[in-house]
Symmetry: C2
Subunit: 285 residues, 2 copies
């Protein structure tokens, strides 16, 4: 067998294998809703009222609940109309649906937030991220990982305050200059694992107002991102946001999709790259 | 240039092109929630209470609402614990998340339902579908399209009754034998564009009880599927179901993802198939 023939066979096998091994992984970065969730003080508490939980008149099982809550509860989505109003501003039911399925970038600022609770992400944090993972794509969704999801069960740990007085809050967020840089990249969405994209001490929410004024949606109280590839590299985020006429947001199921490479599977794009390289070599041998 | 060299170049170009053209399309098959949604009579009506809708003390815009509703409202998800109770039954927060992202099959029974409102899907409907689109995959999600989403704005059109008396309801659903065949295929979810997988006249919900007893989730009042590829071929459905501790279901954002071939783009899998065929030929020329 000549070298060229061998190369043909290797390429053929690689391409054939790439068709069958694309194992998709799904990671849920959504906190479960319940009555103990730490919540922003001005909203009503989450209530689950059990209406039926047992056998019905036919002798079969029948269980269901009523749910009562404020839109901006738990892991949730802020439609741009939450903090901005202009012609064409998006409500939860009018946001173009392709914006809900986009490449994810996860900017890990756990060390910074661990060092200083009131840390605000800077343009330099974004530029540092881009040096490692490439430029944030137009239309992408960027989530800042401050390591805050580990605090989720405790109001005091999340808000840095025993009191519901908003002037006592301390938690990290996104600085206005960083938000401006993200908007210049053309992102569709910005998220945090804290209760607000504006850091705890903010009382006038300039980052909410700026980003939503650009029709950019927000994600808050995002759940644990530790099972995602570093930087969110290769992840498509699906934002399963509630769709409500006149809705300013709502609980969102956040599902991160990516090719699983942890169990020895090779991602399709890697195989295609190898295939292309082999093809180029094959042109010259 | 020899025939083999030309073939190499063609294969190379095809593979290279396949890397860059994967244009993903997102179709939303979710009805918007609002206070006029036709609803099952025993649940509370959907309420959106405006809490803020104007400028706040800082002079900036601030709008949000409280939402109050029954879990089984609008386009929604039934966790298996809605109609079944056994050790290991899934709640909305405990359902394995990979079950929410699976290949979709859409079985179109619009003609049958148009002819007879109380039509129940049969095993033969499934077998006919499989002859055209291939066997329903293990773990897949199957939705029956009765053409019912066109009736969504009218309670009478959806339920076939002016009355909320459940004994007067007429709409199509899934027959028990068809449900048994789907369960034998190992599906994770079964959906309909009507208010219930059990047809209108049912009063004891055998299909709910059977499927949920197999830990299969349900989707009801699914929105317009007309923009999907025929049969749901090549579609991955993402079920953005609310995640509630103790939840028996909830509104779900249903996003259908597929490669867009309508604008002349060729799906990656087709290119890979062509590539493999070329490779096989290349081995012998």
């Amino acid at each position: 067998m000549s070298g060229t023939d061998l190369l043909h066979k290797v390429v053929f096998m690689l391409v054939a294998v790439s068709v069958v091994i694309g194992v998709q992984k799904v990671v849920d970065i959504t906190h479960s809703l319940n009555e103990d969730n730490p919540r922003w003080p001005d909203g009503r508490e989450f209530e689950l009222n059990v209406i039926s939980n047992g056998t019905d008149s036919t002798g079969g099982w029948y269980a269901y609940n009523d749910l009562l809550f404020t839109e901006h509860t738990g892991t949730h989505f802020d439609a741009p109309c939450h903090f901005a109003m202009f012609p064409g501003v998006y409500y939860s039911s009018s946001l173009p649906v392709e914006r809900l399925v986009q490449p994810l970038s996860v900017i890990n600022l756990q060390a910074q937030a661990n060092y200083y609770r009131d840390y605000e992400a800077t343009p330099n944090d974004i530029i540092t991220f881009e040096k490692e993972f490439g430029k944030i794509p137009e239309g992408g969704i960027v989530i800042f990982d401050f390591g805050w999801s580990k605090y989720w069960k405790s109001f005091e740990a999340v808000y840095g305050s025993k009191s519901e007085d908003v002037t006592t809050f301390h938690f990290p967020g996104v600085g206005l200059s960083a938000a401006e840089l993200l908007a210049s990249r053309g992102v569709y969405g910005v998220g945090v694992d804290t209760p607000s994209v504006d850091y705890g001490p903010s009382l006038d929410f300039p980052v909410h107002r700026f980003l939503q004024g650009q029709n950019i949606f927000l994600l808050e109280n995002v759940g644990n991102m530790s099972a995602l590839p570093k930087g969110g590299d290769g992840v498509t985020l699906v934002v399963g946001a509630m769709k409500v006429d006149g809705g300013t947001g709502g609980p969102a199921r956040l599902l991160a999709l990516f090719e699983d490479t942890s169990s020895g599977n090779i991602p399709e794009c890697a195989l295609l790259t190898v295939t292309i390289v082999c093809q180029i070599i094959a042109l010259f041998v």
